[in-house]
Every structure is written in C-alpha cells, then in structure tokens.
Symmetry: C2
Subunit: 111 residues, 2 copies
C-alpha cells in the first residue's frame, strides 16, 4: 500500500506526524539551520551551501513552506526565505506538548 490510514488517528497525531515528516530529512534541517544562523532572511543560495541541485532545494523549500515553518518573499528577481516566527513557536509547542507528557528521565524506572 504505502498510504497512511490517517482516519484512524486524531488530529493532533496527524498534525504532529505531518510536521515531523517535514523535519525528517537532513537537507531540510540544514536549510532551517542556515536560516537560523543568518538571522536575517536569506535567499536561495542554499544551492551553494548544501551540495544539492537547484530543483532539489526548491522542492525541499516547498515542503518546508507547506507546513508554514518558513516563508518566502519576492525581492526583485530573488526570493527571501526565512523562519515564520509564529509558526515556529506553534510547532515547538506542539512537540513539547508531546515531550512533556513524560517526566524527566529516571533511569531504570522502565520495564
């Protein structure tokens, strides 16, 4: 099959999974970190930074945009990409809601 039965799960589970999927590729993590480092916005010279083809970077950027974690603004013939701060915090909180459901580690407490 290869098709996820998303109707079996609740909205939170589907949403978290969707965002996680976007983070589930090192190139996309690298893109995010690049945008973080250059705390000003940066355009698509990511092609130089990472060693991937222009079409590939463009595709990754689209996926990052699809969950709103980054946004792009047209700036002449170039496009400025940057983190979307509001969405960033939303996503951060979404993950921490899950992570905080478990108390901090007490080694050996488990089965």
């Amino acid at each position: 099959m290869g098709v996820t039965k998303s109707d079996l799960f609740n909205e939170m589970q589907n949403e978290l999974a969707t965002v996680a999927k976007v983070l589930a590729h090192p190139a996309r993590v690298a893109i995010i970190q690049h945008l973080l480092k250059s705390n000003a916005c940066i355009n698509g010279d990511l092609v130089q930074e990472l060693g991937l083809a222009q079409a590939t970077i463009s595709q990754h950027l689209r996926e990052l945009k699809s969950v709103g974690i980054i946004q792009g603004t047209i700036e002449g013939s170039r496009i400025s990409y940057c983190i979307n701060p509001v969405r960033w915090t939303e996503i951060k909180n979404q993950f921490n809601e899950l992570f905080d459901q478990y108390p901090t580690a007490i080694p050996g407490e488990c089965c």
Copy 2:
C-alpha cells in the same frame, strides 16, 4: 532516486532527521501516546486500540525501537513495551536544541 545524500549533512542534522522520521507517522505518535497514558508498561494490544493489523503494529514498534524511544521486555509469551526515559529526554533535548535556536515569536518580525 529516493536515496538521501546523508554524507552532505552533519551528524546532528542526520540524527534529528532520523528521529523525526520515526515520529512522522500518526500510528507511531499514537503508540507513543498510548504508552504515555498507561504510565505502566503495556503490551501489544495496540492492535485493538489502533485499527491496524498485527504485522503493521509490529513493524511500527520496530521502528520506534530502532531509535531507542521505546523498549520491549519479554514477559512470558507477551512483550511489554514502554518508553525509554533516558532516550526520551535525549530526543526531547535534541529537538529543543533546534527549537531554542530561534527566539520566541515576535509576529511580523520576519521578511
């Protein structure tokens, strides 16, 4: 292709992506949440809880195990699964290291 060029990225990026990939399916998020709710360890009656076949659940459990986020102990003919507290915290910190690289949202600050 379909094969990730993981040699282009650093270890942190590859590791985070690997963990994110495991969280990138609602069934696996659901399994984790089920293990969290029943704060004692629970066995594989996840098949009942989620509406997936036994083989499918087993496969998801294996992926969760592969990054160490859960662990299973043989208990007679059954197997008890539970969160690995140490690894849980590690993963939580790994994500927050990324998330905390950006200050909390200041709407409209972006491009």
